[in-house]
C-alpha cells in the first residue's frame, strides 16, 4: 500500500533546536528523535494532559497515531520516498499517565496499527510502552521514538 493511497496528510518536519536533529543515520539504521502529537510547523500540540486524567483512551490512541504520521513525515522528508523504508525495527513509546492508568499498550496500538496499515509486514516492530508523569510541551500525552532500517 503506497502512502498516497491512505487519506491523511504527511507534514514536513520543522527544524529543531541546535544539537538536536530529527534523525541520525548509522549505516542502514535511522534513529529518530521522540515525536509528540504536535503541529510540525507551529509546534503546538494537538493534545495535552494525562491519560486517566484529562485525556481519554480514544484521544490517546489518536495522539499516538498522529505521532506515527509525524514520524512518517520525517522519514519521507529525509528519504524522499517511504519505499526506501525496509522495515520498522523498534519503537519506544511514552504515555503521560495518571498514577493509576495502566492501559498504555492500548494507547500505543494507535501508532502500531498505523505502521502496519502503511507498511504491511514491514511495519511490524518490537515495542516498549511505559507510563510517565510528565512529558514535554505542556505535557503531551504521547511521545514515540523509533529505529528504522532502510533499504541498502
Amino acid at each position: 500500500m503506497a502512502i498516497s493511497d491512505v487519506n491523511y496528510k504527511i507534514i514536513n518536519s520543522a527544524p529543531r533546536r541546535k544539537g538536536v536533529v530529527v534523525l541520525r543515520q548509522v549505516d542502514d539504521l535511522l534513529y529518530l528523535s521522540g515525536h509528540g502529537p504536535e503541529d510540525e510547523i507551529t509546534g503546538k500540540p494537538f493534545y495535552t494532559g494525562r491519560l486517566g486524567e484529562s485525556v481519554t483512551l480514544e484521544q490517546g490512541r489518536d495522539a499516538a497515531r498522529i505521532c506515527g504520521i509525524i514520524l512518517l513525515g520525517a522519514l519521507q522528508d529525509y528519504l524522499g520516498t517511504l519505499d526506501k523504508v525496509d522495515y520498522i525495527v523498534k519503537a519506544f513509546a511514552l504515555v503521560s499517565s495518571a498514577p493509576d492508568f495502566y492501559n498504555q499498550e492500548e494507547v500505543i496500538d494507535g501508532f502500531s496499527d498505523l505502521m502496519v496499515e502503511v507498511f504491511g509486514d514491514r511495519g511490524i516492530h518490537a515495542r516498549s510502552a511505559m507510563g510517565t508523569s510528565n512529558l514535554p510541551n505542556g505535557n503531551i500525552p504521547v511521545e514515540i521514538e523509533i529505529i528504522v532500517k532502510v533499504v541498502a
Partner: protein, 155 residues
C-alpha cells in the same frame, strides 16, 4: 540439548511457551545480528502478571527483584522462540529497566539486579550487559517492572 538449555535445566528454569497474538507489535525484531526485544513484564505462563503494584508502596525490593527476574525469563523465552537455540546468543548488549515507583523509591538498580543476575546465571560472561534503570509512575497492566533488551546473536 544445547549448553544454554542445559544451564537452564540446572537452574530449574522452564521457559514459558510464547503467545504470538498481536498486530503491529512483535516480541522480537531482528536487525542483522542484533535482536531488539520488546519490553516484557513479570507475567506467568498464562500471560497474566504475577506481580502488580509499585515499588516503595506496594512491593518490597525482594519482590521487585523477583519480578525483574521473571521479566528475564520471559525475554529468554521470546529469544528461544525466535532463534531456536539459545547457544546462538553471542552476548547480551543493552537492557533498559523501567520500575514503577512510589515518589520516594530510588532503588531501581537493586530491583533490576534481578534481571541482570539471571542473565549472568544463564549465559555466564555472555550475559553481561550495559544497562539503564529508571523509575516511573506507572507501567502497563500495573506491572512493577518492564525490561527491554538488545542481544547479539550468531548463526
Amino acid at each position: 540439548m544445547g549448553q544454554t538449555d542445559n544451564r537452564l535445566k540446572q537452574l530449574g528454569i522452564e521457559l514459558p511457551k510464547k503467545n504470538r497474538a498481536g498486530t503491529g507489535m512483535v516480541a522480537v525484531r531482528r536487525y542483522r545480528d542484533l535482536l531488539y526485544i520488546s519490553g516484557h513484564g513479570p507475567t506467568g505462563p498464562d500471560g497474566k502478571p504475577v506481580y502488580q503494584g509499585k515499588l516503595g508502596s506496594d512491593l518490597t525490593i525482594e519482590e521487585g527483584y523477583q519480578a525483574a527476574r521473571l521479566c528475564g525469563i520471559n525475554i529468554l523465552a521470546a529469544i528461544a522462540d525466535y532463534i531456536g537455540d539459545l547457544d546462538r546468543i553471542e552476548y547480551v548488549v543493552k537492557a533498559l529497566g523501567l520500575v514503577a515507583s512510589g515518589p520516594d523509591f530510588f532503588d531501581q538498580p537493586l530491583v533490576m539486579h534481578g534481571f541482570s543476575d539471571l542473565m549472568v546465571e544463564v549465559l555466564g560472561e555472555r550475559g553481561m550487559h550495559a544497562r539503564s534503570a529508571m523509575g516511573t509512575c506507572c507501567l502497563p497492566n500495573n506491572i512493577p517492572v518492564e525490561v527491554e533488551l538488545i542481544v547479539k546473536i550468531r548463526d
